[in-house]
Symmetry: C2
Subunit: 324 residues, 2 copies
DNA sequence: GACATGATATGAACCGGTTCATTATAGGGC
DNA sequence: GCCCTATAATGAACCGGTTCATATCATGTC
């Protein structure tokens, strides 16, 4: 329709400078009249521009993680990318398979949460991946950018708060320590105890708390100890519900019989009676930064690899803690 | 490597019956040895099998909607499909654009929530779409399958509960009535009032409550009325938080000064003090059914179009309501 | 006026499969 | 022994772009 070769059209639409203004105009006009648009599938065939970015996380059901995805998707959409979503179900095998699937779909960038940062197969798959990968809330990994929250400082602040109130038997419910968030929370927990000269009691530290049921069971077990804790740091992502359910069933009142700090903030923590002191960070900013950093890495090879952004956490003090 | 033509390899891998057993074996062996796998991009080029299913919803941040996505994704993954996610930001223009983008990516099936079921452009785009579309929690639309919850019956049950306790000034906070959930909740609200012979008061029905801030503001306004309601039906998806925040600020105690029913269940409703009576339905089943129905439609043209699955809702009675 | 130069447009190969018309082969019927 | 048919494998066109070597042409230089 514009009376030019297909290659010329391709160059016009890709803003290739080697095409003169009059022809450029004619092509744009024809494109507008035909409502013509490039086929992304064909584009990813010869060229390698699929305009696809993948995000793989443990489970979409993690509350408030939707905020992360919403913001990341928005940044990506504005940049002309489409988001591919998969859940890893916390399995290294699935993670490796997903990376292969993303590669075969010519995905241009990946953001993900690896379930086990020490797993050799996953690390090998990450090193092999031809597209940049950004780790979400994970430790620094060689050659990989990351965006994470400073859970260690958050845990230190939470523990300092409890220790200052006079607590000495402080229990902790935490998730899988093979991943960064739980690992750094435990670090913060130990660091704060050490700084206060309090000997840590192994039986008060419960890890691998992954579901609400786990949290319920472990809270029950803790409170039935001969010397039950006077405070609980529910550090695992969104396990507050299970813990509160157990305390309610035991007739133990939060803020009077037991002090409580949540490792991540939620509407539940805010609106519970009494409101629960919690560690908070900006998930929306996390999503925006993750998408932005990934796009930057995708856009130019000059950006140095292995960038790390550690978002600050803050302790929101409410009414769930008092002196034992 | 197998000493056959590329076309033959293609036929073997697509289980085309016109290839003899010995050759079939040789090809499979070579495939295994080379770790060869078909390129989905090339497949979607000539053939039309992108193995992509898209899901577009208003906002990923809707709590518990992650459950829907998790289950749907699982069903799709098992069937060999990858999920493409986009948010519509509740804008018809974005919805139309997304349908076009999905088409150009040769997406094989779409599940989505249209923001306005009467919008002519969106309806036209849906009719034009070459791939099957399934509506999530929306009304029956011509030629489109749907999976929805029975919000009308849920609202009737909630209202019957309040009316039976003796409430007559019952307020309702509801979302956008251009979409099925809010519209059917209002229907149920009116139907229950009519059945009880109670005249509806327009000022007690607040629609377009879309954000937590809206819910906060409308609750404030309602309680400052000369004759404030004795009960509130917080029908909008997850606006319970905003409403509770307002009541707390007003010093109005739930279950004593004001009765409350939530239109959708949540951990907040369950663990609030007092726990909030709520309408509940199975979002996990909804996700599974949506994915399954869509796959069935994609798989065979014989499945009749316009199938409708209405999931039951149930009223979970807790301790947020008493006689006025 | 011949020739090198730079700027533009073209044509064709290419990406990795799918699909179909065509050919080669084997088997069966008369 | 010949023809017909069914079956199995092949080769090439095709999908819709991208990319690069090549062709064309106007301009500048000596």
């Amino acid at each position: 329709m514009a009376g030019v070769a297909v290659g010329t059209v391709s160059r016009v639409l890709n803003d290739n400078p080697t095409v003169a203004e009059p022809i450029r105009c004619k092509v744009h006009e024809a494109v507008a009249r035909l409502g013509y648009q490039l086929d992304p599938v064909a584009q990813s065939m010869r060229g390698n521009r699929s305009r696809l970015v993948a995000c793989a996380i443990r489970d979409f059901d993690i509350p408030r993680f939707g905020t992360f995805i919403r913001e990341a998707e928005q940044v990506l959409r504005v940049a002309g990318y489409t988001l591919l979503l998969s859940s890893t179900t916390n399995s290294p095998a699935v993670e490796v398979a997903l990376l292969r699937a993303f590669e075969s779909r010519k995905v241009e960038g990946v953001m993900m949460t690896v379930s086990d940062e020490r797993n050799a197969e996953v690390l090998a798959a990450l090193a092999r991946a031809p597209m940049p990968v950004l780790a979400i809330d994970r430790d620094r990994l060689p050659g990989i950018d990351r965006v994470a929250a400073d859970h260690r400082s958050g845990a230190v602040a939470a523990m300092a708060h409890l220790l200052e109130l006079g607590h000495r038997r402080i229990a902790m419910l935490v998730g899988d320590t093979r991943a960064f968030p739980s690992r750094s929370r435990v670090e913060g927990f130990r660091q704060a105890l050490a700084a206060a000269g309090v000997a840590p009691q192994p039986r008060l530290l419960r890890d691998r708390v992954l579901t609400a049921e786990d949290a319920f069971r472990e809270t029950m077990a803790l409170m039935n100890l001969p010397e039950p804790p006077t405070a609980i740091f529910v550090a695992a992502m969104d396990m507050l519900g299970g813990c509160l359910r157990a305390l309610r069933q035991l007739g133990s009142q939060v803020g009077r019989d037991i002090s409580l700090v949540a490792g991540s903030d939620s509407e539940l923590a805010e609106l519970h009676e009494p409101p629960v002191t919690a560690i908070s960070w900006d998930l929306a900013a996390m999503g925006r930064h993750a998408a932005t950093m990934l796009l930057e890495r995708m856009g130019s090879a000059e950006v140095e690899v292995g960038r790390s952004l550690l978002l600050p956490t803050q302790l929101v003090i409410r009414r769930s803690c008092r002196a034992p």
